[in-house]
Structure formats: C-alpha cells, structure tokens
Symmetry: C2
Subunit: 156 residues, 2 copies
C-alpha cells in the first residue's frame, strides 16, 4: 500500500500551522521551526521552496530573515497546502491528469474512484488551517467538535 500524503505534505502542514500560531508579521527562521517541529532542517528546505514558489509563504534572506505566511491565516485550507507540496492528490492512478485509460468508458469501478476522490478533496478543502489551531477549541467549527460528532459532515 502507498500513502496518499507523504512527509512532504504532512511536514508542510505542520510548518504552516507553526507559522500561523506565531501569528506575527516578522519572519521566522526555518531553524526555529524545524527545531520546534522536530523535522530535519535540510529536508525542510526543499519543502519550503515549494511553498514559496506556490506563493503560500514569503521568504526573506539574511539576518532577521526567514518565512512568514503571505496571507491572513484564516484563508488557508488544508487541501491547498497539501496540493502545493504533494501535487495533485488522487487516490488511484486512473484519475491522474494526462492519463486516459482506454477502458475508462467500460470500467465499472471508475465511479468508485471518482466519488472517493471527490470526497477526499471536498473534505480537505473544507478544513481551514485555523481549525487546527489551539484556540480553535472554543470554535464550534473546530475539528475537536467535528470529530466528536462523526455523523455531521464538516462543511456543507
């Protein structure tokens, strides 16, 4: 079995959350974040490169430099962060962009994968970065509450 989300995406999410919780306008050196999050600094650099190129964070060189969120924390979704680092996330090769299966029109299993893909995408897009923050506990939309009542869908 393969994992849909690798360390790239998971680390990215933790770093973004770390930046959001810092909450300031100041740049935070990656060293600080990777120390706090116990993630290898050098490995993290590659991931930050993606986040910077995708415009999710701003970077600043030199002393006093580092990274910070490029937008208000409330505007980020988990789906967006994962897509930026993992690329388009699909649960099966059948759905990958650029691959068109010759059996697509006769394949009876394809609807399962499409539906699964949509469910996953909808869910990840529905969770906001701020829903994972500590002070989200008192927010009725927070994950803690959502997880406590599994019969409710998160967003719609």
């Amino acid at each position: 079995m393969g994992f849909m989300v690798s360390t790239k995406g998971r680390y990215a999410l933790r770093v973004m959350l770390d930046l959001a919780e810092g909450g300031g306008e100041e740049y935070v050196p990656l060293k600080d974040i990777s120390d706090r999050q116990e993630i290898p600094h050098k490995y993290m650099e590659a991931i930050m490169s993606r986040l910077t190129k995708e415009g999710l964070v701003d970077a600043a060189h030199g002393k006093g430099g580092g990274y910070r969120l490029s937008r208000p924390a409330e505007t980020y979704t988990v789906g967006e962060i994962l897509t930026a680092t993992e690329g388009d996330m699909v649960p099966v090769a059948c759905l990958e962009g650029g691959f068109d299966c010759p059996r697509a029109d006769v394949c009876k299993t394809l609807p399962v994968w499409r539906r699964l893909d949509k469910m996953i995408g909808d869910y990840l897009d529905s969770v906001r970065l701020v829903d994972l923050m500590d002070d989200a506990e008192r927010d009725p939309r927070s994950l803690g509450r959502i997880l406590a009542e599994p019969s409710q869908r998160p967003s719609s």
Copy 2:
C-alpha cells in the same frame, strides 16, 4: 504523491466484479477473466492468491477448475476487497498499525488524518460489490444514482 490504491486492489475489484457478474456456481479459469479484463495473467495469479487466502474466493485445481465467489455476491463490500489485497489502507504513515508516533499527543494535524481515514473507510465499506454491477442501474442505491446527486451520502 503516492496512490492509496495500487493495481493490486484495483485489479482485485475488477476480478471480483467479473466473478459476480458471471453469477454461477461454476469455477471460472483465471485465463478467461484476465483476457476479458485485459490484466496480465501471471500478475493476476499473485493477487488471486491473496483473495483465496483471505477466503473471499474459492479455488479449484485442474480441468474445470478456476475461481468463484465463496459467498453470495451481495455480501461483499469494496472496502473488504481492497483491504484483503492492499492490506490495511491508511492515507498517512502516522496511522499505520504498529507505528506509534512520539508526537501523537501534541500533534495538531493528527485529527485531520484520523477523520480522513474514517471517511475513506466508511465510504469504501458502504459500497457493495453489487452496486457496481450493470443491473444495479435500476437500483436506487446504485452508484450511478449516487454520483448524480453528490449531496447524498451513499449508505447512511
């Protein structure tokens, strides 16, 4: 990115569906199935071995032998078939059995993965093998209908 479901699971699902649509008590030679499904026969053997060991199909050697479903077609779910062939399917390494992350109690992203995992599992367990069959089109619970109205959850 990695795929959650590899060819093992996807092929297995197609073979099980093929067997279900055959509908008989007779054993079907794997050669016939792999020809119809355009799956390499030799590769498929390994997958059938898993399905047999897990008790999802019966196998018979020799002439007139082959494979058949071991239970009524209505009793199979997609989740069961995928789990038999792929092993426990989790979207991230964090959730893998036997791995206990030392950061589990402080990790704020873990609830996302848990919730995601539950959604995926619930969905796959809710789709029955017979929901993918041709004659399920006239069944109001069929996937065709479900996919046409994306606001409705499949089973509950």
